[in-house]
């Protein structure tokens, strides 16, 4: 008993010292947004979903979310293929969703065919497509320097985008750059459109004929069509050719296998390109491997005819940009993506690219946004339900057990205080957050805890019915009651533990509370209820079986206190049932 009181004092003290006096509330009680991301199996990478990759993904998502300026966000794995992202209220859920959900799977794929976005490739699209340019930095260091004096910025070697109003840099001698669409912004038809023919006759292989058919059907002008295409492209193996739409839906592509991947990107940053009017662009720096691959690819592409001298920058299945490679291999390891970015979108993309592509692609399996008002309401409802439940239990116990109910109430109180303080301390400790299922679990646990007292009380009463006085009854009843309590609590705990380990999401929170309260139940019964009973048994009120003590032998219908009545009446002298 002293142990439990010390424990309470320590926990309460700890609670105040740690400065947290209320449990951390989950999103559904405090308000906020919660995403559950589910890792998808990717073709060609059967074992991609593993602990390492999941942890990497968590790290990346965390940085991305924090990059939004969110404080107190929470990113953690759950089970083997889920990641939970909790963002407190007051954050822009929409933006968060985009950042969180974006895989940032970036591929550089050579363009096989391209036409405008409609089903029938006759009508050229009128919107200018975004485009990108890449520049050779390393090898062209001198070129860059040479470029600067000529009035072009450091991006001198990079081509301007289609939206650029500036004159084309096409002819730049110093830069072995690759050109993006060099059309002036006024141009109604991007350069991709005039080449519908190759789409009908893709280069050779029979598998590509099928692709060509699908390609003809592909409609990039509708949102749903684009989404479907993007999803398909994103899920395709990097080594397979894919169909893809441009981000704005004005053109569609047949793309070859990926040549360079997003993981080859070392760093990305958003830059405002004022000199040639490109506006916000994203600059990419490749790592060593990426630079080599990129050089090789651009080297091959440059020898081909348009449009096959282009490559597409594919982000999550959508073509962000499709620059042309006109002047040989780019060996420097730097590329830029430009076209139609706002500050926000370029920063987002750079953020996503530099914090890395997720090693896995994820679906948003569940997204819950709870306003603070509803959260508070649910918390209140939970509290009211808990209070009513507790009151009902107490009333029942008082009616049935009278004086003993005081013991039960004290024990329930101790249990409640322990549960509360532990939950509070677990908040900063292991990131435990009280959510609605957990509240529910705690309320249900009132029953479990009270059940243990009932088992013990009934046991004591049985002993009294056999004619024992209270003090021996309390002691003799205990070992049996203890065993029953241990066995049944073990079963409860087993259920909670299995659920906690196996399940995901809300079920887990519930299982945690249930497991915790079951353990506390054992602790309270052993260290508090039992000693309390021993002490109270010495009091005349209980010891003499006052009619309000709940232990009145007469009311319990005890047999006359004859210790050994073997022959007189076959009294249940040593009856022991648990």
């Amino acid at each position: 008993m002293a142990v439990i009181l010390i424990a309470i004092a320590a926990l309460t003290g700890g609670m105040f010292i740690s400065g947290h006096t209320t449990p951390r509330l989950g999103i559904d009680l405090a308000g906020g947004t919660s995403f559950t991301l589910e890792a998808k199996n990717q073709p060609g990478k059967p074992n991609a979903i593993n602990t390492d990759n999941m942890n990497t993904a968590v790290g990346i998502i965390e940085r991305r979310v924090n990059g939004l300026g969110v404080t107190e966000s929470e990113v953690q794995t759950q089970g083997d293929k889920h990641i939970i992202v909790n963002i407190p209220k007051g954050t822009n859920a929409k933006q968060a969703r985009q950042q969180v959900g974006t895989t940032a799977q970036l591929y550089f794929r050579p363009v096989t065919t391209t036409t405008s976005g409609q089903k029938t490739p006759d009508q050229p699209s009128s919107t200018p497509s975004p485009s990108a340019s890449a520049s050779g930095k390393g090898q062209d260091k001198g070129d860059d320097k040479g470029g600067k004096p000529s009035g072009t910025p450091s991006a001198s070697s990079s081509a301007s985008s289609s939206s650029s109003a500036s004159p084309s840099t096409q002819g730049r001698a110093l830069s072995k750059g690759l050109r993006a669409d060099e059309k002036p912004s006024g141009s109604p038809s991007p350069s991709k459109t005039p080449k519908p023919d190759p789409s009908k006759s893709p280069s050779g292989s029979s598998g590509q004929e099928e692709l060509a058919k699908q390609f003809a059907k592909l409609d990039c002008t509708t949102k749903s069509g684009r989404a479907a295409a993007a999803e398909k492209a994103a899920n395709a193996k990097p080594t397979d050719p894919v169909l893809a739409c441009s981000e704005k839906g004005d053109s569609k592509f047949v793309l070859g296998p990926s040549e360079v991947e997003g993981t080859d990107v070392d760093d990305a940053s958003a830059v405002f390109e004022s000199q040639n009017g490109a506006g916000w662009i994203v600059q990419l720096d490749f790592n060593g491997k990426g630079s080599k691959k990129f050089a090789k690819t651009t080297g091959e592409l440059t020898t081909k005819q348009s449009p096959q001298n282009r490559f597409a920058i594919v982000l999550d299945g959508e073509v962000v940009s499709d620059p042309e490679v006109t002047q040989g291999a780019i060996t420097g390891g730097r590329a830029t993506i430009s076209g139609g970015f706002t500050q926000q979108s370029s920063e987002d993309l750079a953020n996503v690219l530099s914090y890395g592509a997720l090693p896995l692609s994820f679906d948003i399996a569940d997204e819950t946004t709870v306003s603070a008002a509803l959260g508070g309401e649910q918390l209140d409802a939970g509290m009211i339900a808990g209070a009513i439940g507790l009151a009902l239990v107490v009333i029942y116990l008082v009616v049935y057990y009278r004086g003993l109910a005081l013991v039960a109430m004290a024990s329930l109180g101790v249990s409640a205080v322990l549960t509360y303080t532990i939950m509070v301390l677990l908040g900063p400790g292991i990131g435990f957050a009280l959510n609605l299922p957990a509240v529910c679990g705690a309320i249900v646990a009132i029953g479990i805890t009270a059940d243990s007292f009932i088992v013990y009380f009934e046991r004591i009463r049985d002993e009294i019915r056999e004619g024992r006085s209270l003090r021996p009854a309390v002691e003799r009843g205990w070992p049996r009651a203890r065993r029953t309590i241990l066995v049944s609590d073990f079963v409860s705990f087993l259920a909670a533990a299995v659920l906690y380990i196996v399940t995901v999401g809300k079920v887990q929170g519930f299982a945690f509370t249930l497991g915790l309260t079951t353990l506390l139940d054992v602790a309270v019964v052993f260290l508090f209820t039992k000693p309390l009973m021993t002490i109270l048994a010495r009091r005349p009120f209980f010891g003499n079986g006052h009619s309000w003590s709940g232990l009145d032998p007469k009311r319990l219908g005890a047999t006359p206190p004859l210790r050994r009545r073997r022959s007189a009446a076959p009294g249940p002298a040593d009856t022991k049932e648990a």
Binding site: E38, A365, V399, C440, G447, I448, E458
Partner: protein, 372 residues
């Protein structure tokens, strides 16, 4: 209380009691009937799976003056082609469910709704669920259920014996079937909350069963050393003496759940609290029933097949026949064989307490007049 207390005492001493084990066939019959009804209900009506399992969106709006019909129209237009269910909540808000709405398509709908209601988008609570999420929860739950069942059977087989483990498992499956059947028949919506509730029944249903079994184990400890009662009789006696406890634990467990159900259903209209407590309520009731009427009689049935118990039953029968012949039937003849037992501490537990059983069960046996 006094009456209850005395009843408890009389149950404890076996003065009154219900012959659960003897009448087990009736209860088996009832249970089989309920189970079949549940299974048929499940097969015919199926479960009304919530949005979490089919995928879709749930929007919860704050208190609003716009009529639900208008809201439905807005939602239907915005969601174009998806089924919309609008439900008014107790506190004045609305719950709008749109099934099979993709996570990406949901955003414009939310914006439309916000416009219609004249509130900020952030005031509308959303829950968007991908179609696979509910399945995830469910399949994980099944997995957990299977693992738990295996573990608990192993544990009970060690702590008690395999027959009890088997009986407990059957009782557990029985409870789950009934609960699922009620859901199928009544058509309550199945949500992750329901799954949570269902899984909690696991621990609870077994809690009761374990309490009863523990008593039974105690009572039947030295059963082969006596010849007065068969296992079934002892089981029945033990069941009756723990009846008060079983009822109390069940009532106490049901009270908070009932409070949750009342508050969850009455105050919030719908949601997690309601779902969990509803499943729990049904399951707990079924659990209490099964631990008394199904689990223990099953153990008795299984036990009676044990050769040792068979021979015990034979001996008991022979002894009773002999006792019946000895009309005089003074108490001595019966008490003779017990002293040794009573000395063996915990031994005769249910045995000596079993007074009334024979006359109730078989209509013969010792005259009970001498008792009291």
């Amino acid at each position: 209380m006094s009456r209850l207390g005395t009843l408890g005492a009389r149950l404890y001493r076996g003065e009154v009691g219900y012959d659960f084990v003897g009448k087990r066939k009736i209860w088996y019959g009832i249970s089989i009937l309920i189970t079949i009804t549940a299974i048929v209900g499940l097969a015919v009506r199926g479960l009304n799976m919530g949005i979490e399992f089919s995928g879709g969106a749930v929007f919860t709006t704050p208190n609003t003056k716009v009529s639900s019909a208008d809201v439905r129209q807005t939602a239907e237009e915005a969601a174009d082609g998806h089924t919309v269910v609008v439900q008014e909540l107790g506190r004045g808000g609305m719950r709008i469910q749109i099934s099979e709405l993709g996570t990406k398509e949901a955003l414009p709908v939310q914006e439309e709704l916000a416009k219609e209601l004249g509130v900020e988008t952030s005031k509308i609570d959303t829950q968007l669920v991908g179609p696979s999420w509910g399945e995830q929860i469910a399949s994980k739950a099944w997995q957990g259920l299977a693992i738990f069942m295996v573990l608990v059977v192993i544990y009970l087989a060690i702590a008690f014996e395999w027959r009890m483990a088997l009986a407990a498992l059957i009782a557990l499956i029985h409870d789950l079937t009934i609960t699922v059947g009620v859901y199928a028949l009544v058509g309550f919506e199945v949500t992750p909350g329901t799954v949570i509730g269902l899984l909690t029944i696991l621990g609870y249903s077994l809690y009761d069963t374990v309490v009863v079994f523990d008593g039974l184990k105690e009572a039947s400890k030295d059963i082969t050393k006596q010849t007065r009662f068969t296992y079934s009789e002892i089981a029945n006696r033990s069941l009756n003496s723990t009846l008060v406890r079983s009822i109390n634990t069940t009532v106490v467990a049901l009270l908070p759940v009932g409070a949750l159900l009342f508050i969850g259903g009455g105050l919030l209209g719908a949601g997690m609290l309601n779902d969990i407590s509803l499943a729990l309520f049904v399951g707990l009731a079924a659990g209490a029933y099964s631990s008394i009427f199904i689990a223990t009689p099953l153990v008795a049935d299984l036990k009676e097949r044990d050769p040792r118990m068979k021979s015990l039953a034979k001996r008991v029968k022979a002894k009773r026949a002999a006792a019946a012949k000895a009309e005089a039937a003074d108490s001595a003849s019966e008490e003779d064989d017990t002293p040794a037992l009573e000395d063996a501490a915990a031994a005769p537990a249910g045995v000596v307490g079993q007074r009334r059983q024979p006359s109730r069960n078989r209509g013969r046996g010792r005259p009970s007049g001498k008792r009291r």
